[in-house]
Amino acid sequence: MIHTSNLTKTYGSKTVLDIEHLDIPKGQSFGLVGNNGAGKTTFFSLLLDLIRPSKGEIRSNDILVKESEDWKPFTSAFIDESFLIGYLTPEEYFYFIGELRGQNKADVDALLSQFEDFFHGEILNQKKYLRDLSKGNQKKAGIVAALIGNPEVIILDEPFANLDPTTQIRLKGIIKNLAETKGVTVLISSHDLMHVTDVCERIVVLEKGKIIKDLATSEATLKDLEAHFAGTETV
């Protein structure tokens, strides 16, 4: 689904991302972990053509991301709250996104009805603008908006941060379900090793822009990752 080759991003003389080769097959739930500055958000921004690669390329479904815009119809993302339009109500925002993705109101309503649990009664029919919602609720709205329009690739940057425990657990269910039953390629990043190992079939560890681990998730993965980040790894 997503093929990355010789991708680098440099600012001045500093290389913030340097990925020689990374293939993400269709329907994989893919987790990206790494400390701050490891290049997670940079990679996602490159995937969304929000910044230009210094070298190399990403192909999504055989479409060259930096040249064509044809990847947009099947890709959606929630990177941060700058993806929200503060002066709309959540409903208006969902319908707006739906419209951009060719979904009418009924389609969007049908989708939203599946997430009543997830919203926990704090998003819909609140008569509030998105800007007046709490950070966590904004995040919920943004994540659900990224699911509108049956995207084949969903990119979520730090989806678990700011969410309450109940919502975190529900979100895990949603993400798993997307990859397993609908064949959606889900890319998430997280600082919470437990969450990623729970959700993702494959975990890639970035450090200073380079891939230093590429693991298929198993029982041992969490221990492995914890050891790695604690710096007590035995080589």
Binding site: D49, L50, I51, R52, K72, Y87, L88, F96, K128, Y129
Partner: protein, 512 residues
Amino acid sequence: MIVTKCVLILLIEETNSKRMKIKHFINLEWKQYFRSAYWQKSMALNVLLVFVALYFVVTFLALGIALYPILKETFPEQDPLVIVNSYLFYWFLADVIMRFFFQKLPVMSVKPLLTLPIKRSKVVHYVLGKSGFSFFNFLPLFAFVPFGVMLIINGYPITSVIFWVIAIFVITLVINFLNFIIESLSSETELSYLPIILFAGGLFAINYFDLISFTNLVSNAVSSIYETPLLIAIPVLVLIGLYLVNFGKLKKQLYLDSSLKAKAQEVKASNLEWTRKFGDAAPFMQLDLKLIWRNKRPRSSVFILVIGLLYGLFFYPNPVYQDMPWMFAFVGIFVTGIFLINFGQFIPAWDSGYYKMLMSQNIKYKQYLKSKYTLMAVSVVILFILSIPYVYFGWKILLAHFAAAVYNIGVNTHVMLLGGSFNRKKIDLNQRAAFNYQGTGAVQWLIGIPLMALPLAIFGASYYFFSFEIGCLVLTILGVIGIVFHQKLMNLITEKYLDSKYKMIQAFSQDN
């Protein structure tokens, strides 16, 4: 001058004692300014601004030096100082208005400072103290100091003249702080420009109809300071009073909850189905309309419409302008294009808050721009219709307005959209009351010049060489050409936006 110095010295001493030096603040400011994308991307505009500033300095200097001899020559019987005093009222009034539109309270991102061990009052003192160093406060000195020197050379008593200059400077500072009160009044309420118009217009009217002669009042007041220097204490006291009022106001706003307080706005959802008529640009039209209606900043551009529409009343009833038909086209551009200018200058910065999202969505840039274009074009048509009553002052006005409206639709809309592709300044729609004044800086006004000056030049030239009718025809034809090539132009503009996509994303994700 003395007063600001005193305040500053006090400030520095006080801060020193708490080991938080004012230099930290200045350091922050410096970095904020020079590290913003805006500064780095628009050197040309900064250079232009410096030239404008220099221009004013030179003009004022020339005025200050030449004023005395000119007045002496033109009115040999009168004392030049008395004449100058009698016009001071208008000077101060103009100062108030100019400041309102151009000067903003120097903002510092205070939020991160709130939790640091710095006294709130110190932050406020700094913000206010810094405003004392505004260009607007020093500009008058360039005129009044040389004028004062000329007075002394011509045998006026030195101490009196010095106190006279000081008095003017103190009053200038008074206006400085008065302006912030007026600005905060207009930003707290939804009245936008109304308070300043009422304030200045009211004073002017009272003076004009001789209810209270402010001209004499100001003149007498300044003369008495000239005669009895001790009276300088009065404006100084007023200055201190206003400073304290400002201090109190700002200090109260320096709490997170007072500026971030969710006003539990009840949402008034409106059905905008009628925008469907505009085809695939409809979702963006709806978004734009909500943007305008639900945010303070863009909403003020709606209120300006009223002022813009009435702008013609300044000119047309005055018989002097009846003989200057070349003015009509200018007024026409302004009256029919006021929304275009006000809204258009911040495209696409209005959407800067969620620009990243738009860019990753499945949209065509063209639809996005088309929505803005449609909005501006429709506003021109509506404003033209509303301006039809001006025909009362002569059919020529209607003709000129029509030509201007066509020109606005065909040319200026595209110019605005094109200009937008150079826009690198983020607008924070979510920002609330505290410190958020209009935000239309001098830069935005400068961009407005080619919009207005170009059609005026074209019209003026064809009026001068041919006739009024030809002038209107030329403007109309230019407009029609623009409309005919609309698709082509839009493609060009879209390309420009695509070219600067990454730069815009980067600039818009900056906080300043």
